[in-house]
Point group: C2
Chain length 425, copies 2
């Protein structure tokens, strides 16, 4: 916990309590604060006698060598970047338990068969550069490097000054903070035996049932879209409703519809970013763009929501009786199919959890992740699974995100054991 | 027309046609472009032997002296600032016909009883500093100088660099372009005999009935609000709908409701600006603010819409069955009651129109303004009325706003005559 809060000195966000550790985090990927925490991470891992590799996406791999040098290392990994109004646990805890695991191995003089590594994946959140799990995705071969290097930052509440005037690309941001490595970003150049990740659940299930460890067996599907509604600017005082092509009104109806259609299909649909132009009180906006995030247990269900919404948005945009028509355009920005994790890794996690908690029957549950994680990417190439720990009220992507020290410690023990169990198999 | 298009070299906006004059305008109040056109205006008026006064709100009064010096001048006025995606006629035409009137008087060697003046009012649009007719309002004693000086700019599509990082106040902007005058901004320090204003209609009535001149007898009421919806940031992938306090969803429902309630009360309701925070695809926004512009023939009708919406928004925010509650806060930013113009001025306009158009019976109509104008402010202190000329398709606050040269010329003749008629009464 000391290391975790120490590392949160870079990118400290909103203060919500009296204790110095009671703040949120605003450490956007590849910001100066992200650079500082990366430098700290690299230093720390060198002290633990790790070999450091930085790849072309800025992913940092730190490997503590094992007895054998002819096999790839088993990794524990997550991310040090946060949401603009994020907390101290999402991602951060996952990297920190990796550090802790190697520290404990050192303290105990434990040697491993293959190496044991810790990886910090770049821009997992998708908050600054709008694709989540982007750098683990490049590593897995899910998206081309050039496309991701060219991705532009979006303005957020914790925006970097550049974001509004002259948005930086991901590659420029890597160069600026000196984390554009030489090693190709791929599972071939940087192979792994397996990937384990600990994360707060970010939902209410563990905490509301008083359980301590989630054995994560897979993750749901999601797809991100940008919806562009084009109408025509006009005067808010002189233009009757029927003469308007009001992109804001159309967008409002679409947003309401998105929730309705998501809900009736057992999916989630959320709007996080909206931009209305020209942005003047007395001009009816002629252009509105908004982000749409649709999630469901299977990609077919997400696709079904998309299909229905494409029809519904078209009808809303045309708006035959009430007004002049707007047009609507869809862009698919990102796509992450549902995954099932590897049985061997799941078993390692379950066995470790059973060895750690007091009452395995009541304190452990199997679960599916609602969020995307770098493990979703790695699972496409190497055996992978995850550990969830509870977070207060199920709250995440919020400054008050919180996980008790006891739950952090239990999770860390499970992770250490899972990695060693896998290494010994 | 030559002068008008010449003056549009400062702040030229979107190009929409092949002719060099076929562009919109983006000349936000007190920008560098606004300074340039102001300098040009002052120079031009000096050449017409006018005395120039700049007041504390940056209003520029240019007076061509008459025979008598013991009576206030009769003014022709409007504004040179535009919307971020505005056109070449809204406001600009009103100032330009004033210049033209004095030019014609000079050409014809016409003398007047009192002086004849032209006034350029500051920030009429309310696009950069979010109160319309603000500087004529201070002149009329409707709002206090200090409040208006302290008003901060809003970011718009044609934003000045300062707007996003460190928004300027109106007073700072006046100082920066050197238009913070010494003369107190008031109807007492700068008295007028009367105020006449020509404007494009900004609506479809004249153009669709093939009429040339609108005799404006009054203006409708409007009120501007900022609506702040507070929920709680949460993760878009892990938070079920019923666990969310989704400020964006609540805001979307409010925007749809605003139109419904406006419409059923014979009023207009429009949302021009919306900001959702933190602005990340996978974080459900915990804070959304939007502007609301409500207009109607009488302030009681606007107040009725407000009353209903306050109730409806509360119900939507609380959202008892579906989700966790949000809260909603209202701020009233601006208020302009409906006005009736002065019969003497209306008569001057009507008589002048009858002398100018070919077939007065079919080409002239009485009308009420849907938009606010500086004349709404002046009418509280001095006899006032307005002339409307048609604009293509009724389109305004849009780059393609257009008024034919013939209609501009007819309007200019009516204005000149109206001012002289009033002066001679
Ligand atoms: N865990 C997490 O918040 N990751 C971001 C990816 C997502 O949007 O699910
Ligand atoms: N004429 C004009 O567009 N004025 C702006 C004031 C308003 O919003 O009505």
């Amino acid at each position: 916990m000391k290391d975790l809060h120490h590392s949160c000195q870079w990118g400290t966000g909103v203060k919500w309590g009296s204790d110095p550790t009671e703040t949120g985090m605003a450490r956007l990927a590849l910001s100066q604060d992200d650079k500082s925490v990366r430098d700290w991470f690299v230093e720390k891992m060198k002290q633990l006698r790790c070999n450091i590799t930085v790849d072309e996406m800025g992913n940092i791999f730190a490997v503590r060598p094992g007895r054998r040098t002819d096999v790839p290392a088993t990794f524990i990994g997550s991310h040090l970047d946060t949401q603009p109004t994020g907390g101290r646990y999402d991602g951060i805890l996952g990297v920190l338990v990796g550090i802790e695991a190697l520290q404990v191995m050192d303290d105990l003089g434990l040697e491993s068969e293959g190496g044991i590594g810790v990886v910090n994946w770049t821009n997992e959140e998708g908050a600054r550069f709008p694709m989540t799990i982007i750098a683990s995705g490049v590593w897995a071969g899910s998206w081309p490097l050039a496309h991701c290097h060219a991705l532009k930052e979006v303005p957020t509440v914790a925006s970097l000054p550049s974001a509004t005037s002259n948005p930086e690309t991901l590659k420029e941001a890597l160069q600026k903070i000196d984390y554009l490595g030489d090693t190709p970003c791929s599972y071939e150049a940087m192979p792994m035996a397996a990937h384990f990740e600990l994360h707060i659940e970010q939902g209410p299930h563990l905490v509301s049932s008083g359980q301590q460890i989630g054995v994560v067996t897979g993750a749901q599907a999601y797809r991100w879209y940008t919806i562009k509604v084009v109408g025509s600017d006009c005067h808010s005082g002189t233009t009757a409703f029927e003469h308007r092509a009001d992109a804001m009104y159309a967008a409002a109806r679409m947003m309401v519809k998105a929730r309705e259609v998501g809900s009736s299909n057992g999916c989630l649909a959320s709007i996080g970013i909206l931009k209305a132009l020209p942005g003047s009180v007395n001009t009816v906006p002629g252009l509105v763009t908004f982000s749409l995030d649709v999630r469901g247990p299977k990609m077919e269900m997400v696709a079904k929501v998309e299909e229905e919404l494409r029809k519904e948005f078209e009808v809303i945009a045309r708006n035959e009786q009430e007004s002049k028509p707007c047009s609507v355009e869809w862009t698919v920005d990102f796509d992450s199919p549902s995954v099932e994790f590897h049985q061997d890794c799941i078993d390692c996690v379950r066995e470790s959890a059973e060895a750690v908690v007091q009452d395995p029957k009541s304190q452990i549950r199997d679960m599916i992740s609602g969020a995307g994680h770098d493990s979703v990417s790695t699972s496409k190439r190497v055996p992978t699974s995850m550990v969830f720990v509870p977070c207060k009220d199920g709250v995440s992507h919020h400054p008050q995100e919180y996980c008790t020290a006891q739950d952090c410690a239990a999770g860390a023990s499970v992770m250490l054991q899972a990695a060693i169990r896998y290494d010994r198999k």
